[in-house]
C-alpha cells in the first residue's frame, strides 16, 4: 500500500452537529420574533435588524483580520449577536447608535476577550446596557405598537411599556401578541415561546434555565403581590430567559449550575423591577449572573461516577 493513511487519536467518528448548525437553529428560533417585530412596528424593524446583523458580521470579520486570526464569520455567531442586539432596541433608534452597540458587542466584549466562547458577559446584553446608559432617552423611546390600546398612549407616537403602564392598560392577549410598547423583540410573547420550544426540541438549549428563571420570577411576583403572569409576559423577561440567559458562553455548563444561575436571574430581575427606578431588570440581572458563572461552576462540579470522599487525614 503506497498511499498515506490518516493516523489520529480516537474517537474516529464525530456527530453531525456543528457550531454553525447550532447558531443557525438559534436564528431559526428567532425568526417568529423577527417577523412579529416587522408586523408590529413596521418595516423599520427589518431595517434595524439588517443594520445590526450586517454591522456585527463586518466588525467580526475586520477584527479577526486585524488580529491576524482565522475568520469566524462562517460560524454565524456574529449574525446571532446582531439579531439579538436589534431585537433588544426600540424601533426608531438612530442606526448609528445601533451600530455603536454592535461595536461594543463584537469588538469590545467578544473579540477583545478572545472571540467565541471566551467573553464573560453576553455581548448583546452588554451592548444594550452601554447604550441604555449612554443614550437613555433614545433607548427608552417606545413607539406605539400596531393595535396597542389607546390608554397606553403617552403622546401622538409613543406609548408606555407594560411595566410602566397603569394596571389594566394591557390585557394578557395584548402582551401575548405584542400590542404594546417595548423593544422590537420583546413584545410578542407568543413568538418568543415558539422559538424557545424549537430550541428545546432541537436540543440546542436545555429547558432548565428558562423554566427555572421564569418559575423563580413568578414566585417572587407572587410574594411581592404582583400578577405573576403579567410579569412573565412583559418587560423582555421571555426574551431574556429564553435567548439571553441561555447564551452558552456566559451560562454554566453543569445542570446544578444552571439551576443556581437561573434562580439568581429570577431573583434579581424581580428585585430590580420592584425596588429600582428602572422597571427594566432583565438585562442587568442576567449580566450580573454572567459574571458569577465561573464561581457557580466551581461550586457545582458534578460527582464523578465512583467518586469516594477522601477519608480525613488521607493525602490525595
Amino acid at each position: 500500500m503506497d498511499n498515506k493513511l490518516y493516523v489520529s487519536s480516537s474517537p474516529h467518528i464525530r456527530s453531525g452537529n456543528t457550531t454553525r448548525r447550532i447558531m443557525l437553529d438559534v436564528i431559526i428560533a428567532l425568526l417568529p420574533t423577527s417577523v412579529a417585530a416587522c408586523v408590529i412596528f413596521g418595516f423599520r424593524s427589518a431595517v434595524l435588524i439588517a443594520v445590526c446583523v450586517a454591522t456585527c458580521v463586518l466588525l467580526e470579520f475586520i477584527s479577526r483580520k486585524i488580529m491576524k486570526r482565522e475568520s469566524t464569520i462562517g460560524d454565524l455567531s456574529a449574525v446571532v449577536t446582531g439579531l439579538l442586539l436589534a431585537l433588544n432596541l426600540p424601533v426608531d433608534v438612530n442606526p448609528l447608535i445601533a451600530m455603536f452597540g454592535c461595536l461594543i458587542a463584537i469588538v469590545v466584549v467578544k473579540q477583545m476577550f478572545g472571540g467565541i466562547g471566551m467573553n464573560f458577559v453576553n455581548p448583546a446584553l452588554a451592548a444594550r446596557i452601554v447604550l441604555l446608559v449612554s443614550f437613555p432617552s433614545a433607548m427608552m423611546h417606545w413607539v406605539t405598537a400596531w393595535g396597542a390600546p389607546e390608554a397606553a398612549k403617552i403622546d401622538a407616537t409613543t406609548s408606555a411599556t407594560p411595566l410602566a403602564a397603569e394596571a389594566g392598560t394591557y390585557s394578557y392577549i395584548d402582551l401575548l401578541i405584542g400590542r404594546c410598547g417595548g423593544s422590537i423583540g420583546e413584545v410578542c410573547a407568543a413568538a418568543l415561546i415558539l422559538g424557545g420550544i424549537y430550541l428545546v426540541i432541537r436540543r440546542v438549549i436545555s429547558p432548565i434555565i428558562p423554566c427555572v428563571y421564569l418559575a423563580t420570577a413568578a414566585l417572587m411576583s407572587f410574594a411581592f403581590g404582583l400578577d405573576p403572569l403579567y410579569q412573565l409576559l412583559s418587560g423582555g423577561l421571555l426574551l431574556g430567559a429564553i435567548f439571553m440567559a441561555t447564551d452558552y458562553t456566559t451560562s454554566p455548563v453543569t445542570n446544578w449550575g444552571k439551576v443556581i444561575y437561573a434562580v439568581g436571574c429570577g431573583l434579581f430581575t424581580m428585585l430590580l423591577r420592584t425596588y429600582s427606578n428602572m422597571p427594566e431588570g432583565v438585562s442587568f440581572s442576567i449580566l450580573l449572573m454572567n459574571i458569577l458563572v465561573p464561581l457557580i461552576e466551581r461550586m457545582t462540579v458534578p460527582r464523578t461516577l465512583g467518586y469516594v470522599k477522601k477519608a480525613k487525614g488521607e493525602k490525595k
Binding site: H12, I13, T18, Y248, T254, T304, G306
Partner: protein
C-alpha cells in the same frame, strides 16, 4: 451486601451518545479464513509482562504448541496458530508505536495439532485458574487483560455477581453478537463452569436491545439449560454507547458504582466478555488454546464486510483480501471500533488476540475534523458517562495544570470518546485529556522519586 435480586430493567446510567450503529455484519454467518502463509506473533498481546520465546529460528511447531511465555503473574502465554517452521524472530512496530519481538511462523498448511493439546483436568478453582492461564486467554473484548488474573479474585474481595458482556456498543462491531448467535451453548457452559468454581450465584448477561435475535437466542438457551436455581438472567440494555464499558455496564446491571481507581471486584462484580467465557468452555472440552478468534471486518472501504474467524497473527492485509479487498482507497485503518480503536499507520500489522475488529475507511469518513473554539455549549458535559467536565479537563490539560486535573478527577476518564464525538466545535477533547492523564502520571512518578530521594 444487598439481596441478590435480578433487575427487571437496567439501572439508569448517565450520559452516552447515540452513535450510528452500522452493524452491517450482524446477520451474516461468520466466515472461516483459510490458513495464511505466514503468521507473526508479537510477544505481548496482553496487558502485563511480555513473553519470552521458547522456540528458535528453524524449529518446527504445531498448532496449539506454546511458543512463548513469561513467569510474571500478569501475563499470558502465546501459542502457535499454524503448523510450520519458525522463520525468524524479529522486532515489529505495534499499533501503539512500541517495538517488540515477534515470532514469524511460515505455515506448512497442514495444521497439525500439537501433542500438547489435551483437555485439562479441572477439579478445583486453582485447576481452573491454571488451565485458563495455560490457555493464553485474554479479554477478547479489546482490553486484553489476562483472564486468569481477572478470575483470581483476591481473598479480601467479595464477588457475588458475574456480568457477561454482550453489550457490544461500538459501532460496526458484531463479533460478540455473532458469538452469541453461533455459540450459545459454549457461552452457557462457560458461565456455569465459572460460576460454580467461583461460587457466584448471580449471573447477568448484559446485551444491548438492538440485538433482539441474540437476546432471544440466549434466553432460550438459558431457559433450557441446567440452571435449577435460576441464577442466570439475560438483561436487555439500552442501546447507547458506551453501555459495554465495564464501569457503565456494572452500573446498568447492578446499580453499583466501581470506586474511582478501583476494579470491578471492588463493586462485587466480575465482568467477562462473551467471547472469553465461550472460549473457556471450548478450552476445557478440547484443550485447544487461544489460536484463533472472530473479528469484524467492516468500514466504508471494505468491499464485503464480514465476521471472520482468523488464526491469531494473520496479516491484516490477508484478512482484508479474504473479504474481497478494498472497494476504495483506504485512508484510515482501525484496530478496534471507531470510538476507541487505534488507527494504524499501514495494513502491514497482524491480528492480535484482543483484536475484535479491523475497520477501513475511505477519504470521506477518514478526513480529520478541524477543531474550532469551544463555545461552552456543555454538550460534552451531558455526554460524559463518567460525569466529568471534559471541556474543563481539556483546558486544564492544555495549561498543564495538574491541580485542576486532579481536582476534576482526570484519572476517572475512561477515554470512551463520547465528549469528542458530540462536540459541535470538533475539539479533540479525548486526545488532550489523555495527554493530561499522562502528565499527571508523570508528576506522580516524579513525586514518588523525590520523596524516596528525600529519605535516603
Amino acid at each position: 451486601m444487598d439481596q441478590l435480586s435480578f433487575p427487571k430493567r437496567p439501572y439508569p446510567t448517565r450520559g452516552g451518545v447515540h452513535a450510528p450503529h452500522n452493524k452491517n455484519t450482524a446477520h451474516k454467518e461468520s466466515l472461516e479464513m483459510p490458513v495464511p502463509k505466514m503468521v507473526a506473533l508479537p510477544m505481548s498481546q496482553h496487558i502485563g509482562a511480555p513473553c519470552v520465546p521458547l522456540v528458535k529460528v528453524g524449529d518446527n511447531v504445531d498448532v496449539g504448541q506454546c511458543i512463548a511465555r513469561s513467569e510474571a503473574f500478569v501475563s499470558a502465554p502465546i501459542h502457535a496458530s499454524v503448523s510450520g517452521k519458525v522463520k525468524k524472530i524479529d522486532k515489529i512496530t505495534m499499533p501503539d508505536g512500541n517495538r517488540l519481538d515477534a515470532i514469524f511462523i511460515e505455515s506448512d498448511g497442514e495444521q497439525r495439532i500439537s501433542p500438547e493439546v489435551k483437555p485439562p483436568e479441572v477439579n478445583s478453582i486453582s485447576d481452573l485458574l491454571t488451565a485458563v492461564r495455560e490457555s493464553g486467554l485474554v479479554g477478547l473484548g479489546g482490553a486484553g487483560f489476562p483472564t486468569a488474573v481477572k478470575l483470581n479474585i483476591p481473598a479480601d474481595k467479595h464477588v457475588d455477581t458475574m456480568i457477561v458482556n454482550v453489550a457490544e456498543c461500538e459501532p460496526y462491531i458484531t463479533s460478540d453478537h455473532r458469538e452469541a448467535l453461533e455459540n450459545g451453548w459454549d457461552i452457557i457452559s462457560g458461565i456455569i463452569t465459572v460460576k460454580e468454581f467461583l461460587d457466584i450465584h448471580r449471573v447477568i448477561v448484559g446485551i444491548e436491545n438492538n440485538k433482539p435475535d441474540a437476546i432471544k437466542a440466549l434466553r432460550e438457551i438459558v431457559d433450557n439449560s441446567l440452571d435449577p436455581e435460576d441464577e442466570i438472567r439475560v438483561l436487555p440494555l439500552k442501546a447507547t454507547y458506551p453501555q459495554g464499558a465495564e464501569k457503565i455496564l456494572i452500573k446498568a446491571c447492578t446499580g453499583r458504582e466501581v470506586p474511582m481507581g478501583g476494579l470491578p471486584s471492588d463493586a462485587g462484580c466480575l465482568v467477562m466478555n462473551v467471547g472469553s467465557i465461550a472460549f473457556i468452555a471450548r478450552y476445557l472440552k478440547t484443550g485447544m488454546p487461544l489460536v484463533s478468534r472472530r473479528l469484524t471486518v467492516d468500514g466504508s472501504a471494505i468491499k464485503n464486510p464480514s465476521n471472520v474467524i482468523v488464526p491469531i497473527g494473520t496479516p491484516i492485509k490477508d484478512v482484508i483480501e479474504f473479504v474481497g479487498g478494498y472497494k476504495e482507497e483506504p485512508k484510515k485503518i482501525l484496530m478496534g471500533g471507531p470510538m476507541m480503536g487505534i488507527s494504524l499507520p499501514n495494513d502491514e500489522l497482524y491480528i492480535l488476540k484482543q483484536n475484535n475488529a479491523i475497520l477501513a475507511f475511505g477519504e470521506k469518513e477518514a478526513r480529520l475534523a478541524e477543531p474550532s473554539a469551544c463555545i461552552r455549549c456543555g454538550k460534552c458535559v451531558s455526554a460524559c458517562p463518567m460525569r466529568l467536565l471534559p471541556l474543563e479537563l481539556c483546558n486544564a490539560a492544555e495549561r498543564k495544570d495538574d491541580e485542576a486535573l486532579g481536582r476534576l478527577n482526570a484519572m476517572n476518564c475512561m477515554e470512551c470518546g463520547c465528549c469528542s464525538f458530540t462536540c459541535p466545535a470538533k475539539r479533540h477533547l479525548v486526545q488532550s485529556i489523555r495527554m493530561g492523564k499522562a502528565y499527571l502520571n508523570q508528576k506522580k512518578r516524579e513525586q514518588i522519586a523525590q520523596s524516596k530521594g528525600g529519605k535516603n
